[in-house]
Amino acid sequence: MTVQPRWRVDGIAKVTGAAQFGADFMLERLAYGVPVLSTIAKGRVRRFDLHDARSVRGLIEIITPSNALRLPNQGIHPELKDAPRIAMLQDDGVYYSGQVIGLAVAESLEAAQEAASLVKAEYRSEDALCDFEAQVASARPPQSGGDAAAYARGDFAAALSRSDVEVQAMYSTPVQHHNPMEPHATIAHWEGDRLTLYEPSQWIVFVRTCIAVWFGVPEANIRVLGPFVGGGFGGKGALWSHSPLAVMASKMLQRPVKIALNRREVYTVTASRPRTQQKVLIGATKAGELLAIRNDVVLQASPQIELIEDSGTVSHHLYKCDANATSHRVAILDTSPTWVMRAPGEATGSYALESAVDEVAYRVGIDPLELRLRNYAEKDQTNEKPYSQKLLRDCYTLGAKRFGWEHRPHAPRSMRKGNQWIGWGMATATYPAYRAASSAVVRISPDGKAFVGSATHEIGTGTYTVLAQIAAEELGISIDQIDVRTGDTELPPAIYSGGSLTVATVGTAVQLAAQRVKQLVIQMAVDDPASPLHQSEPAQIKVSEGELILDRNGARERYADILGRQGGRTVEATAEAKPGQEIERYSTHSFGAVFAEVGVDPDLFTVRVRRFVGVYDVGRVINKKAGINQLTGGAVWGIGMALFEGAQMDPRYGRSVNMDLSEYHLPAHADIGEMDISVLDVPDLKFNPLGARGMGEMGITGAAAAVANAVFHATGIRIRDLPITIDKLIERSSNHSQ
């Protein structure tokens, strides 16, 4: 890409507060809603005592199942099969602790909070199942069935019997919360039968569908706005109770209603990444050839939704291996729903697989990187297709070089610096490259400026900037002359911003629409006797710096001048981009190699990631700064996943005990050493015309395993239950020796 802006086009707006996020819109007569949350895990609300709550000054209404608006379509609906079933005050059931059972609406946030806190619910409790470990035994295949439920290739038993070594190990990962910087917030505003919904969402079009179905109104009457989203990580890819309740309250009270969740509310009103338990079995020869790989996964799920975090899938293709099997089962708990989170499947699955591969390397005495190279998959064995582009070998080589991997002694506990044990670990990163259907409109106005619009989202990843760059390159108009809009359902529809597909999908739509607009203007010039380009060959006209230029003789004219002669008309084109033939011909994945150095205190077992090197092949990188930023953030999250992060459930309550950022630990700056993140930046033109495969999720994959493997290399202790905390290390070390 020729144009690399120094900053994000929306950077100034964000740092000056001009950018409006979900809760920032101020409407006249705005009322504030605060949810009342259940404190039992299962049962019914027998009775509400609203006496004290009603006496709060400024209270407008308390909505409970007894006075809530009846919705024509709640719960599961064929159009919404992918949506979680959420509480909308349509019955008095309690399905988990922290579920919405009521809503206080008041003139001020404080009054609503006070009233909500004074609502007393009397429950009839039922026995709840909240202990994951206890439910593992009764886990069952998911109702969705399919590959995720069971996958097998080759003769597993035979392959295993030919193996010289077998590694069998159980890895577990905890519940993780999405924790975007911006907690969820909604403002609903009915004017007559038209609804405007301010919703920071990763999928506004779907938000509109959900509300339309639930409330039985035409989609055309609903406008969803979410021009800026303060991060989502998947958590804003669905609708949670507060959104329909804001819509309901606004309808009931005939005024706009805002519900902004606080952090603790986000943890239970929305959803989280499920706990996983992965039983990995690998058979290998003495020479390190992987003959058989199996991963039997149990995932936490809830009656609300059984969504599958398909942790096992990554082992289907990451290495050349003829015998492969995975199963996924769900343990249904009476806890808040589970949902996709950054790199669903790959984040947890690559941790288990890449740890187990490290264990194989130690069993056969082969360097972990060498072992991976010996099992390099040249094609995707799940479908026997070639990869559209796979440069993983280059990632390994370059990463190893940047890291200095060749100096690594193989034995654990063999490196020291000062009074620290040093450990080096590595892993492979991978994430599929997806495209979906999305559309965009591009306009050029008589002043020569361009407008780009799509109902996609700016979730903090740099969408505005990247779309502006793509349009700028295509139109030959400088970035500061391009106005990009997203987050508005009045714009051409787009798919969710997830699965790292926004650039590949919406970017392509913008590219196509821009090409069309450009062709229209070129045609105008060619047809116009007043233009210096009159009767030129359209294919020979290039664009640059706001001008159309004829290659041959340098004849040129500005967009503005061409359009000016057409009576000041705006030219526009809309385009839809869809997955092309690449999915039939190729397997499309991104890859990377990650390396971590940890220092571990041999007495206190404090762990610090001193260095981290990641080299990735994600195809072409449209915006280096935003791209590296995404990968770095992902890797930092992976480090946190390895060492700090995880909700701790108290199964007696069905409630996690660390529901705030003081006790739910994400890495602090001091935990992160030197981050050396780079990309190969080779366009994958077999994947799409942009050559860009997307990169949002890549960073977190492999990272946790690299850190866990480094901790093993430093200490000789393998903790298979994330996060790797001091208590676990110290308990294992005392069992060892001291």
């Binding site: 404190t39 007495d603 206190l604 060492l643 705030d660 006790e663 630990h665 890495p667 001091a670 001091i726």
Partner: protein
Amino acid sequence: MRPFQFSQAGTINAAIRVLQEHPSTRLLGGGTNLVDLMREGIEQPDRLVDIQKLPLDKIDMLPEGGVRIGATVRNTEIANHPLIRKNYALLAKALLSGASPQVRNMATAGGNLMQRTRCYYFMDPGFHSCNKRVPGSGCSALEGAHRIHAIFGGSEACIAVHPSDMCVALAALDAVVQVEGPRGHRSIPIHDFYRLPGNTPHIETELVADEIITSINLPKSPFGDRAEYLKVRDRRSFAFALVSCAAGIALEGSVIRDVRLVFGAVAPKPWRALRAERALIGKRMSVDAVSDAVDLEMQTAVPRAGNKYKVPLLKRTAMRALLAAGGVA
């Protein structure tokens, strides 16, 4: 949040008068703990008296050579004050290991002393049982999540810890809490300031409802540079201690003349390891002497299933702090 009356106290006596007349009053220091607890409905005072304007914001030398830290001096200022840096580096180190710069810029000395536990069940009213929050409701931590809980000084009613870093160093420095109330002035040695939970875990200190902390006085330290504060936590910054340790040693040659060893985050109060201290006095500074002495103290630990790790972790932390203070490491 419940509505409350807010006022600003111009004099110490004015503050005391409000406390006396309105039992449900809380003093507002930096608010970094109190306001959070009010938001969650754990504290529900009818009145807040802001004491940040009181003339208690100075650090002064005391005539006998010690220092007086006013109750409203910010944690940051204490940590950076030349007198503290020079004579009580232990205290500065403990303070700087706590919270974040933003929190320390607000947090006051008095508020730090009075901060409440971070026990999960105390902090979230969604949990039914917590004797400290709702007396008589039971203790969820005993059979629940208690990875961060006490191994010393707990009771069957409560095993929560006092989470402060500052107070651990204060205890090693024999701080004395100065208190003012309707009945006049009291000086309470920090070792007597906190109560063990027994059957009344909701009563945490000797401070009575109508009293205000005015300052914390430190005597001249016999340890000088021979002191160390060591904190072990889940991440490198912005986390409460899993265990911590303040150690100060006065040597005559290599013989230990005096010693203070105080553990943090393992008891309802800064836990002075008296047995270890006694065992060390008169001994030559050595790894073995330190190890034996710390073991003596650790024998009295009462860990539970989920916090057993604190025993070896604390032992190693204490040894390292003592050896560093004694100049051996």
